[in-house]
């Protein structure tokens, strides 16, 4: 016996609402993470050392999501390296999170360069913690209290980023 039309309609409505809920669950973006405490996480960096974001509380953290295939990411790396060298003692800590699919590629890439900050492999779960990293480059500036105070997406505006960091530590 066929179910009554009303039951079918109700079931269809429920199915549609469920699909919308699933779709909406990943729509909440990184912008909504601004001015909230950065989610803590633990990962192992490329040299095998465990790294927890929370261990840098008290320092200003530039958390940079990047990949070897991302040309703008590669462009900004020398600047971030320079900042780490010059302003590390002043309280800045750059952390690189590679969204490459293959760790060996990243290790080869980093081995050819002198990168003075830790780099770890990211994944979809880590991206989701920060509201979703759906494209690169993407950086989060986290203040000494652990709050995300700025987010940079796409082509880097180095001057803007530098002035934001300057507002948090003395880099003049």
């Amino acid at each position: 016996m066929l179910p009554p039309l009303r039951t079918l309609r109700a079931a269809t409505l429920c199915a549609c609402l469920s699909m919308c809920a699933v779709a909406a669950s990943v729509v909440a973006g990184p912008a909504e993470r601004l001015y909230t405490i950065a989610p803590d996480f633990v990962r192992t960096d490329l040299s095998g050392r465990p790294l927890r974001l929370g261990q840098y509380r008290g320092r200003v953290v530039l958390l940079n999501f990047w990949a070897t295939w991302c040309a703008p990411c590669i462009e900004e790396m020398p600047t971030f390296s320079r900042w780490q060298r010059h302003f590390g003692d002043g309280g800045l800590q750059v952390i690189g999170v590679s969204m490459d699919d293959d760790e060996a590629t990243v290790k080869r890439f980093v081995a050819k360069r002198s990168v003075p900050y830790p780099i770890m492999m990211g994944d979809a779960k880590l991206g989701e913690l920060f509201g979703g990293v759906f494209g690169l480059p993407q950086s989060f500036l986290i203040d000494a209290r652990g709050r995300i105070v700025y987010r940079s997406v796409g082509e880097p505006n180095i001057e803007t980023l530098r002035s934001k960091i300057a507002g948090l530590i003395d880099i003049h």
């Binding site: 295939w69 040309a71 490459d100 293959d102 060996a104 979809a124 991206g127 990293v133 494209g135 796409g154």
Partner: protein, 157 residues
Amino acid sequence: MTHHATVLCLCFGTGLFFGASAVGAETIAASSIPTADILQPAALDAALRPNAAVRPLVLQVGFRKLFDEAHIIAAEYAGPGGASGGLALLRERVAKLPKDSAIVLYCGCCPWDHCPNIGAAFSELRRLGFRNVKALYIASDFGTDWIEKGYPVTKGG
């Protein structure tokens, strides 16, 4: 049994492909795609609605982690077009399709002008004789130009 063996082969093959992803395919700029073959996000959204006349096959030709985070509903992962392994996956996916199949490719890993994948994937399908291929124009990245615009997505592999 045969099905399981096929899945195992695919997984193993995928691992090999991505392990070799450093061995890139020829870099073909997104700007090489003819304007007439570029699709705007709003047009694709309309084409994917249930009442659309012809719903295209949507293939993400970017990177696995970004696909797992979020992708266009009904999109399939076809491997990064900028890597030879990715192009092999793409060829495998379309091998049995008629040459007039409606196919939309997208990446969105990074700004359009810097995308290492979309141009190569588009070029490969054209080389194979597919005549009804479009490339989704994502100016900045998938988050900015699709998700934040409110177009529907889902996540997972």
